[in-house]
């Protein structure tokens, strides 16, 4: 068990390391160095920076040194919690990202909760009542759900909301609370705005989950122990819920590992359409403006958070599934 845990944690660290390299590549990719970009943006905004300031920046990030030195310096700064400056905003990157990153996490988690809450009962129903009318209906809806990318669904939902209900259903807060400091009322306002983005984001994941749950449970229901339980006169609900569902649930929990990167990915682009205050629109803006520190940091933080989420789900799986807990010794 400990060996498994250590292996998972090592793999997570390795992944995080890879993500830092990829983020660094993203920062480095545009032609010219970012100090030039920085200087250009500043002078375009009317506040030019002096050659001395440029040199100081170059010194800080070691621009004229080989790539790996630059990478190490950047990593060193990050270790100290210094993610650099967001050029457009003239503030440290972390300040700009702060709240938005949290909201991204909130939306992603809401989408996953929605996915589970819906996929679990439907999956069980579809397996138990196989080939019933509702089973076919769910399968059909599921296929459609899989085929529509999140942002298109968001577009359609926005359009329907706007032209038939006359309201703009985008955003995460009402106008009163958008700029207000955090309070209980603001949290309540947020909760009221969550369902639409959560559903839009969760639909394709739900469709996948239903299919997985259905086929897993079908495999279990064919096994002899289910027949034994029935033969001994157990109530049908007990026959199904007690063991087959529990066994079928295992792969379900493990899928959170790949559901998370998927949902986070989706949230970026869905946020653009629904104008949610997550890191999505920020990332796009920073990329268009070539504000590479902001962009690189967002990719880095999203990646790291996803890896941590995946790690937690793996450890959770270990806790739930005795075969993993005991079998790997």
């Amino acid at each position: 068990m400990i060996a498994y845990m250590v292996r998972r944690i090592l793999l997570a660290l390795l992944t995080i390391w890879m993500i830092t390299i990829l983020s660094f590549i993203i920062i480095q990719l545009p032609p010219g160095d970012f100090v030039d970009t920085y200087a250009n943006t500043m002078s375009a905004g009317g506040t030019g920076i002096t050659q001395a300031e440029k040199d100081a920046l170059r010194e800080q990030y070691g621009i004229n040194q080989p790539m790996y030195v630059q990478y190490l310096k950047w990593m060193g700064l990050i270790m100290q919690g210094n993610f650099g400056m967001a050029i457009e905003w003239g503030r440290p990157v972390l300040d700009v990202i702060g709240d938005r990153l949290m909201l991204t996490i909130v939306i992603s988690l809401a989408a996953i909760v929605f996915t589970w809450a819906l996929a679990l009962p439907i999956g069980i129903y579809s397996a138990v009542k196989r080939y019933s009318f509702l089973d076919y209906l769910f399968t059909f809806v599921g296929f459609i759900g899989l085929a529509i990318p999140g942002f298109m669904l968001a577009l359609i939902v926005m359009y329907v909301g706007f032209s038939y209900f006359g309201s703009n259903i985008g955003g995460l807060f009402s106008a009163d609370y958008a700029e207000a400091p955090w309070s209980m009322e603001k949290v309540w306002d947020l909760i009221q705005h969550l369902p639409v983005p959560a559903i839009v984001l969760g639909v394709s994941g739900t469709a996948q989950m239903i299919r997985i749950m259905r086929s897993n449970l079908l495999d279990e229901l064919r096994k002899p122990y289910v027949m034994t339980a029935r033969a001994r006169g157990l109530a049908e609900s007990r026959v199904i819920m007690k063991y087959p569902v529990r066994v079928a649930l295992n792969p379900f929990i493990s899928t959170i590992g790949y559901l998370l990167p998927y949902v986070v990915s989706g949230s970026i682009i869905v946020s653009m359409v629904l104008s949610l205050p997550t890191v999505g629109p920020l990332l796009l803006k920073s990329l268009v403006a070539q504000d590479m520190f902001l962009a690189g940091t967002i990719v880095l933080l999203l990646g790291v958070l996803t890896v941590i989420g995946t790690l937690i789900s793996d450890l959770l799986l270990m806790w739930v599934d005795p075969r993993i807990r005991l079998g790997r010794q």
């Binding site: 459609i144 085929a147 359609i156 989706g266 990332l283």
Partner: protein, 377 residues
């Protein structure tokens, strides 16, 4: 009676059995595939889609990039199919004026004039399939230029015909899916195959890379990579750069399938037999192992294409993928980003339909292929 039919029946079943016994692997697959109704529909739809890809110039009747502010935001035109009870489709020409109150352009059909739609009529000249010089198009209008009078799906803000743009966009989006999948396949089969065949350290290494790539949220990463493409690159360069970026992550699933097949086949008796007979490694792989999992690879590839199409659409939608003047489904949907604009001109959402239909068709076909490829399914 019964004495007569019985032997005939048994003859029939033995014939059927014999047919199965001597059928090739591909015939068996085809028979199983045929039973999958949704998959068959999927195949037909895909064939239609790729026919569109092959004959874009024939199907489009207007230059997709020719804009004219005088024709901005025309709603899809109503076509009158019957003229005096006779099948003779025609349209009324539109006259654009400006609403004095809202300053919006409004279009009023001129009910007195009828412009008959002609099939296979003349239009701009092009080379059919890149070979035959012709000026025939599926639709044209008698007595007028089609691009000035015919607006099947309406026009966008700049007055460009959406039908024609959709046709050209279909070509880009569907081929980008194929090219990316081909690249992914190359990477996936090579790395997955080596991983599965050699095993050991190399296998572990590849597996870790796959796990790592799969745990990174792809869209932010793609956005970062595509944003760095130089602005002065031309359409073709961007096109290929996007396919490379998309397939950079797409290969992992294919590699997993190939590796899994290799691992299970390596244990099989016929591979062992070939080894004992002294076949070379290359011969074992290409002559004995590959044919037995090609069908699975085809199924996995078909299932991978829709993801690629969606990736391209998403990136272009954000303005980070293909850029105008290139036309793809994602580029077309960029016009639909604004809700207010959508509420006024909902036809800008039309490009959503082909995306959904194409993705569904690929998914159904892939599902059918996967079931057919599995002899125990």
């Amino acid at each position: 009676m019964s004495e007569k039919t019985l032997p005939q029946d048994s003859v029939k079943t033995t014939v059927a059995e014999e047919k199965i016994a001597v059928a090739t692997q591909w015939q068996l697959m085809w028979w199983r595939f045929r039973k999958h109704k949704l998959a068959m529909i999927g195949v037909v739809v895909l064939i239609l889609f790729y026919l569109v890809v092959a004959c874009v110039d024939f199907l489009a009747y207007a230059d997709p990039n020719e804009s004219d502010a005088q024709r901005g935001l025309i709603a899809p035109q109503t076509i009158e199919w019957f003229d005096n009870g006779e099948f003779k489709p025609y349209v009324h020409p539109l006259k654009g004026t400006r609403d004095p109150k809202t300053f919006k352009r409004v279009y009023v059909p001129d009910m007195d004039t009828k412009l008959p739609i002609v099939f296979f009529g003349p239009g701009f000249s092009y080379k059919f399939l890149g070979l035959i010089e012709t000026d025939r198009h599926l639709f044209s209008v008698e007595g007028a230029d089609a691009y000035k009078t015919l607006f099947l799906f309406g026009t966008d803000v700049q007055g460009r015909d959406i039908w024609s743009r959709l046709i050209y966009g279909t070509q880009t989006s569907l081929t980008i899916g194929l090219v990316s999948v081909a690249l992914s396949l190359l990477l996936g089969v090579t790395l997955g195959g080596m991983s599965g065949y050699y095993g050991g350290v190399f296998d572990t290494f590849i597996q870790r890379i796959i796990e790592i790539l799969r745990s990174i949220p792809t869209i932010p990463l793609w956005m970062g990579l595509t944003a760095a493409l130089p602005n002065d690159w031309n359409v073709t360069q961007v096109y290929f750069a996007i396919t490379i970026i998309i397939s950079l992550i797409g290969w992992t699933e294919l590699a997993r399938v190939v590796r899994g097949r290799f691992l299970s086949l390596r244990q099989d008796d016929f591979v062992m037999a070939a080894e004992l007979l002294g076949c070379s490694k290359a011969r074992i792989i290409f002559r004995h192992m590959v044919p037995s999992f090609v069908s699975h690879i085809i199924a996995a590839t078909t299932l991978a294409i829709p993801a690629m199409i969606i990736s391209e659409t998403s990136l272009s939608f954000l303005g980070l993928g293909l850029r105008p003047p290139a036309i793809s489904w994602g580029v077309l949907l960029q016009d639909a980003q604004n809700v207010q604009a959508l509420a006024i001109s909902p036809w800008l959402l039309i490009p959503v339909l082909p995306v959904i239909v194409a993705v569904l068709a690929f998914n159904f076909t892939g599902d059918g292929l996967r079931d057919a490829a599995d002899p125990y399914g």
